[in-house]
């Protein structure tokens, strides 16, 4: 082999070697492909949010025994009703998206109710 050929040969071999090496994604957190598993609730009923804060598009699971309409109230620090949504829940797990772009950042009280009765009440930060 000529010197010039060898030079290019080893260059491309080196490039190939680098290209085929194993990618290192240790800086990235691997998310579970099955989100519903992370949101699962072992008890017969319950309420579970995806994170400690509510961010736009994050999810929550409302697990109920009785299917029907449930209300989700969001109240500000002074207990003013800021948002109230009506959802139709099935018996068992119900995973919904929580949108936050229309809400100002802050501390809120989230109340889940059915037929005027309060079922869950949590205080969370909405971002």
């Amino acid at each position: 082999m000529s010197y010039n050929f060898q030079k290019w040969y080893y260059f491309w071999l080196f490039v190939l070697f680098l290209a085929c090496s194993k990618d290192d994604y240790s800086d990235f957190q691997t998310l579970s492909p099955n989100l519903a598993d992370n949101m699962s609730i072992e008890e017969p009923t319950g309420l579970k949010f995806q994170g400690s804060n509510i961010t736009d598009g994050s999810k929550f699971n409302l697990k109920v025994l009785e299917a029907g309409e449930y209300s989700i109230e969001v109240r500000d620090y002074f207990k003013n009703l800021t948002s109230k949504s009506i959802i139709n829940a099935q018996s068992g797990d119900n995973v919904f998206k929580f949108y936050t772009r229309a809400l100002q950042d802050g501390d809120y009280t989230i109340t889940i109710g059915k037929d005027g009765q309060e079922i869950h009440n949590v205080k969370l930060v909405i971002k």
Partner: protein, 593 residues
Amino acid sequence: MNRIKQFFKKIEDFLHDIYGMDKHMKKIVLLLLLPMFGYGQLASSGDGIDVDLVYAGTTADANKPLNKVQVNDTIIVKLQLDNLSQKTITYVHVDVQYNVNAYARVDYSFNVPANAQTSNGNWSGNGMKWSPNPNYDLNDLWAQWSTQGGSYQQVAGWEVDHVEAVSLSGITGNYATLHFKVKDAGDNHSYTDNIIITMARVTDNTGTAEYVFPVGKVRGYDTMSITHIPLEDLDSNIYIKATFNNNFDVTKVGVVVQKNGTPVSNNLYFDAGGQINVTEYITSTTDSYTLDFVTSYNATEWEALLDNVITISDVTLTLNELGQYGHGNAGNVFTTGIQYSAVDSDNNRDLTPQDAYNLLGHVMGSVDIIPDDGTGIFNNSFKPIKKADYDSWSIYKFQNNVTEPNSSVVHPITVDFNQSSYTEDFKFGFIGDANGSHSSAVEGNAASSLTARSNNNYTVSSAPLMSYGQQVLADGIIQGEWSTAIEDGRVVATLRLLSTDVTALQLKVDYDNTVLTFDEAVFNTGNTVTNFASETNGRVNLGSIEQNGGEIETGDVFKVYFSGNVTSPVGLVSIFNTDAANTDGYRLILNLQ
């Protein structure tokens, strides 16, 4: 680095303004000029002794910048030795020359090793001033004295301190400190280099023979003189004070101090207590000062604030004052001239039904009552008024052509320097704020109308209630229900009114306009009710007003329809604020469940 860039940018701009040079031409000229910029700087001794004349504040305020020093302040001047050599300083004397018309040296002290001998010989006579040796740099302090060419000469008005120390061990750092009382030398006096180091001698006697730091190795660096035109001896502390409404974040507004039309301060914002200290910017009794009010809100944020300031209850109150509300018992609901001025939308000093309808149009989104003079929405909607004028501006004065107090964002101020503490008090009004929801309260009786019903049988809640981030004084509380749900593939927000005797209602709702599109608002408020709805940047403004003697019906009065491909309505629509009014036009709080 940024300062250097700014410096060169200023020179570039100057060249552009003067010669109209283009970008590349300016760069070339700057490159050619670059070596010249170094000539104005003093040179260090390199490996000898640098003698630095350091201004270190005043005896009353160690942090006072030199440019704020006033007549009768006593300034602190340090003589700082920086030994860059391998030698030891065992002897030093530095001559400090000062103009006695501008400064009186009132004190001095030494900071030298124990057992060192010190002295400060003052050479005054009939005046003494150094005539520099032109053959050497002015800061070549030993050369100035030791070589031929320079000498002290009799010049009236100048004195010299010969600041000397001898020690067996090393002298270094701030070895001596001088105090000078600042004097007014008159308008024609030149204050240039009125304190200056003229010469110095430094030696090392630790060896077998005295080592005298040679020519070129004892230099004044990096400062060897002080030039400052003192400010007037003004001892007043000057404050700007605001009395503000709790619904208005006073820390978001402030002032710029202008002297003879030129800004002399940055934006100075009110603290949480509503105060700004402007003492350091108002330094003369002969110049003209103004306060330019500014805000840290951008235009969008200010508009959002005005969304809370001007609401339907401002309209109903104004309509009632002008007999246009249609529910009887008209008039006499305004109590102050501030209210009249706030809603005089055509600014003709004649409040007419048209002003009320302009305000209604503004709330409905069809008319903009905020003037546009090109200076921005803040300047045209915010009304800072001196407190005494604010509290005394009555309806009578409004109606009888008394000169209206200055409510522009530019206020001349005249400080009474005879007072040790002077405060300029302001109150703040807003255009359209008829019910004073965000304006400062009017205090005292000077502005009140004796015929207003507020002094008779009108009662509001004794303490304000929090409603959507605002403190609201209201005539009552009404009930409603609010919900958002997915119906037939659309997101629908519904307001159900449960209370009677409601004659005006307004709701501003925010929605996620990255997910939803506003389709329509449907009203079921009654046949004689005027309804309105508009949308701007993700906020729907909807409301109703009844001016025909009836009231808004109860039930599902508002339905707002949005389209979007969503399966969860949670958080998509939220309430920004609410407002309501009764038949007298007074404000009601809408309590939503």
